[in-house]
């Protein structure tokens, strides 16, 4: 006899609201049903009401953690719609911005995963080292999380010569501690007991359900937008894509930690190869009628923006497909077969970003009566 265990929408293990209806036979999970949409913000409809310049700031706020990659993907799509090429120096600044964000996003996830399995010391140490990368973003771009280094047609702020030595010193410190963490995670018996063989995603399932990012790479799928569809300055930087084979939570931890080491290597190459010169070109007010796709490798996977312009300064349609949205179907094969105690760590292993998933449009609707809140009402309410 199976019965349904509801997890969420409010639950200590979920950082944001999602509702899992887990069908359980005794302790073992048999079926998983997912209900999303609790974090709805209607960003796609809002983006088509804003001009491109303002839309850039909104696209950065789709997700609270990976915002540089969102504004980078939006910029890439809009620039290919408008046919604009950004200068070389700006391409390298974008790479540094994106990689610093990948470091702090992976360390944030590693800390939360350590907290899920009850290892508070590792949680604190991970987040202490995350501060190093956040300080660098604050130093270079002015804000810890919303660095917004990209701008339509270039970079918003230039990287000054005098900040480079401090950046290199911090990267060296970060590299040493992340190498130490990889040893700890792969050798500590209690972590191995809680993580290895848990929430396994086989390569066949990962390929079939179109999983993306570290979740897919931990199951052996060799797929990384930075190499397959290079943007910014990734084609001039050599790095290798980290792939693990056994697809369990431990493999996902190792993939993300080793990717941090890759990111540190990428930033070092970007600093050396950064040419001098202008960081921004003029971006036209109105964009001719066209459509384009902009893809980047967000910390959680492949992020896609589809922009269709209609000659005015506002996009006619923007479609955002975020990596967490693609990873949700693969949550089912991971959970089925496990026990209830593993749900928090397995759900956390996809590194889900719910606000990324729920960005589709919805306008306030009274029950029964379909009413659109006019902009005036919204503005009066906000003030």
């Amino acid at each position: 006899m199976t019965f349904i265990v509801p997890i969420g929408p409010q639950h200590p293990a979920l950082e944001e609201p999602a509702h899992f209806r887990i069908e359980v036979k005794g302790e073992e999970i048999v079926g998983v049903d997912l209900r999303l949409g609790y974090n709805h913000k209607g960003i796609e409809q809002a983006l088509s009401d804003r001009s491109y310049a303002h839309g850039l700031y909104l696209s950065a706020r789709v997700c609270g953690i990976c915002n540089s990659t969102h504004s980078l993907a939006f910029t890439r799509a809009v620039e290919s719609v408008a046919g604009i090429e950004c200068p070389d120096r700006a391409r390298y600044i974008r790479v540094i911005d994106a990689e610093l964000e990948r470091i702090h996003s992976h360390l944030l996830w590693a800390g939360i995963a350590a907290h899920e399995i009850g290892f508070t010391t590792l949680f604190m140490l991970f987040w202490r080292d995350r501060e190093l990368s956040l300080d660098m973003r604050e130093l270079l771009f002015g804000h810890r999380i919303y660095a917004s280094g990209t701008y339509l047609g270039g970079a918003r702020v230039d990287i000054k010569e005098k900040d480079i030595p401090q950046l290199i010193r911090t990267l060296a410190k970060l590299e040493k501690s992340v190498k130490h963490y990889i040893d700890v995670c792969t050798s500590d018996r209690t972590i191995i007991a809680r993580c290895s063989g848990v929430g396994v995603l086989k390569k066949k399932d990962a390929l079939e359900l179109c999983a993306v990012g570290p979740t897919a790479r931990a199951s052996g799928v060799d797929f990384d937008i930075r190499r397959d569809d290079p943007y910014a300055a990734y084609d001039e930087i050599s790095f290798d894509v980290i792939v693990e084979r056994d697809g369990d939570v431990l493999a996902k931890v190792v993939v993300r930690l080793r990717e941090i080491l890759e990111s540190i290597g990428i930033i070092r190459q970007a600093i050396d190869a950064m040419p001098k010169g202008a960081i921004r070109t003029k971006f036209p007010e109105n964009v001719p009628e066209n459509e384009a796709v902009g893809r980047t490798e967000a910390p959680r996977g492949e992020l896609m923006y589809y922009v269709r312009s209609n000659g005015t300064n506002k996009p006619e349609r923007v479609r955002i497909r975020t990596p967490s949205y693609a990873n949700w179907p693969s949550a089912k094969p991971m959970l089925v077969g496990g026990t209830i105690a593993e749900i928090p760590i397995v759900v956390a292993s996809i590194d889900p970003c719910y606000s990324c998933t729920d960005r589709v449009t919805i306008v306030d609707a009274e029950t029964g009566k379909f009413r659109i809140m006019t902009k005036e009402e919204l503005r009066r309410l906000r003030r």
Partner: protein, 140 residues
């Protein structure tokens, strides 16, 4: 598969194939040929469907399949008149399309026949049945 191979492969099932930038291919197909196109792609082991985009253009709804093919990206566009808004499901070809088709159904009202689990995904349960937020008339 690089850009030219994909373009050559898709020419049989679609017209107006154009290559944008170094790695993106845009192609327009129609209701009869898009299932064979997707099956042909899957047979060349291109398994990754990035997403399905729906665009409301007044009296036509464009459904765009974005498929990642190794080093390039294929965007297969399919125009459906609003009078007969239903398409075949592709979940048998790309199982990953489950959530995208559910979103297409609830946001644009495109009926996907044969979908295994046609419930709502994002909209709340008390959302009025006939209204589709991404439609043009939703804005007025």
């Amino acid at each position: 598969m690089n850009v030219d191979e994909v373009a050559r492969l898709i020419k049989k099932y679609a017209d107006d194939v154009k290559i944008v930038g170094a790695r993106h291919v845009f192609a327009v197909t129609d209701k009869e040929r898009y299932i064979e196109a997707l099956t042909a792609l899957r047979d060349n082991d291109l398994k990754h469907l990035t997403t399905i985009t729906g665009v409301d253009r007044g009296d036509i709804v464009d459904v765009i399949y974005h498929i990642h093919c190794g080093e390039s990206l294929l965007n297969l566009k399919l125009s459906i008149p609003k009078t007969a808004l239903e398409i075949e499901t592709v979940t048998d070809i790309f199982p990953g399309a489950i959530l995208y088709e559910r979103e297409l159904m609830e946001m644009l009202g495109v009926q996907v026949k044969g979908h295994p689990d046609p419930r709502r995904l994002f909209l709340s349960d008390d959302w009025p049945a006939g209204k589709f937020p991404l439609r043009k008339e939703a804005k007025k």
